[in-house]
Subunit: 220 residues, 2 copies
DNA sequence: CAACAATATTTCCTTTTGGAAACTTATGAC
DNA sequence: GTCATAAGTTTCCAAAAGGAAATATTGTTG
């Protein structure tokens, strides 16, 4: 289906998308492989402690965990409870993500995930039917998903939807009414879109008899 | 046994978008800017499960943890072990930092920008006809735009397009062939989407007779 | 609202963790 | 080398987590 003619174009128009769109051009080649390595908690913890120049006894004092417990954790003899991990991280002044930091998330170049039509991960709720896209990639900057907005009424909701980040919404099919905390409701038809701060209360309903289909992208 | 903070529960349960949506966390190591003081792990987990539309039973299947255990974790009756948390995060496809993300409440500026169908800011090039959306908002986390893809062959380009950030693409009309540096070309039809690291060279052409229409969202 | 099904919580018991102390292994001084 | 001391590991037991099944709660249908 694809006769990829790898022919390298000579010199034509360099199609550079609108300037506003592409802030900076960084050409960096990465490995191209994005592996989620298994986390060796104990090992990692030991490294951290050593780096800090602490003995088990000192670490014990700082964290409030017993020497023996620390030893066992480091040697992977036990799996610490969340509670213990909190003591660890606060006592040693490290933050949790650091503990779990997958060594090289940095050069995450070369990731790609295709989601075919209606083959996303669906998550039905009473008012929406969400279809998550690109679910194979984690740690994304954006979260795209489609939603089937059921033809219902305002009363189906118990309050504003509100969450961190910004949201972009595009109507793919149908017609919706978009409510938001600081603005009047607006009707959005197929092709219309709205970009808003998701901390602002918002919600939407299908404005017509049929269900509406929208695309949603969120970034925090 | 149950100091149970069930109080605020009811009126707050709203249909929020899927959880992967809220990365809101410093992914990379680095400083300790993170205040991870009040983590309500159970509460947070419950939210996540709900937004994924899962029952305890289903979550149990996916994670391999017993229903009862999940329940107890969600209700903060036990402090899960690291092992349990790993099962949780891998089973539910969430990543750990996310679990600890402090839902930081920042000033909700309440910005909003509606772009009506075909009323964005157009930006024609030889290969595309871009239509920028939500142009009235500056300093956005995401840059959404539609593009009419005119390019028909590889030669229309002079090389890979490459820029900072991540990109999400959804085919609105027509059919395109998506080329990328580290993968084989793929054909994408209406409704298909792809998410990729924009540092990876990429480009696309219309695969059919007509021009294709796509939605593009970029975040850096 | 009874009856039923689906979901969530609690109980009861087994397995595992966490801690004090005993034990073992470095590291040094003499 | 012996002795002394610090660092790390293992033992043993109380306390807490994890799982199966019972119980409670919620939601649906006639």
């Amino acid at each position: 289906m694809n006769d990829a003619n790898q022919a390298e174009g000579d010199s034509m128009k360099i199609t550079t998308p609108p300037q506003d769109v592409y802030p900076s051009m960084t050409v960096s080649h990465g490995d191209g492989e994005n592996k989620i390595a298994p986390i060796k908690l104990g090992q990692r913890l030991k490294e951290i402690r050593k780096t800090l120049g602490l003995t088990l006894e000192e670490a014990s004092q700082k964290t409030g965990l017993a020497r023996s417990t620390l030893s066992k954790i480091e040697n992977e003899q036990i799996s610490p409870t969340f509670q213990a991990m909190q003591k660890l991280t606060s006592g040693l002044q490290i933050d949790i993500p650091q503990l779990f930091a997958v060594p090289k998330q940095l050069s995450a170049t070369g990731r790609r995930d295709i989601t075919r039509f209606e083959e996303g991960k669906t998550h039905p709720t009473s008012t929406y039917e969400h279809e998550l896209l690109a679910v194979q990639l984690t740690n994304k900057k954006m979260m795209p998903f489609k939603s089937l907005v059921r033809a219902r009424s305002f009363e189906d909701y118990s309050g504003w939807i509100r969450h961190d980040g910004e949201e972009f919404l595009l109507v793919l099919e149908g017609e919706i009414t978009f409510f938001s905390e600081f603005y009047e409701p607006v009707n959005l038809n197929k092709g219309d879109s709205v970009y808003y701060d998701a901390n602002m209360g918002h919600m939407l309903i299908s404005a017509s008899e049929q269900d509406a289909l929208i695309l949603w992208v969120t970034a925090s």
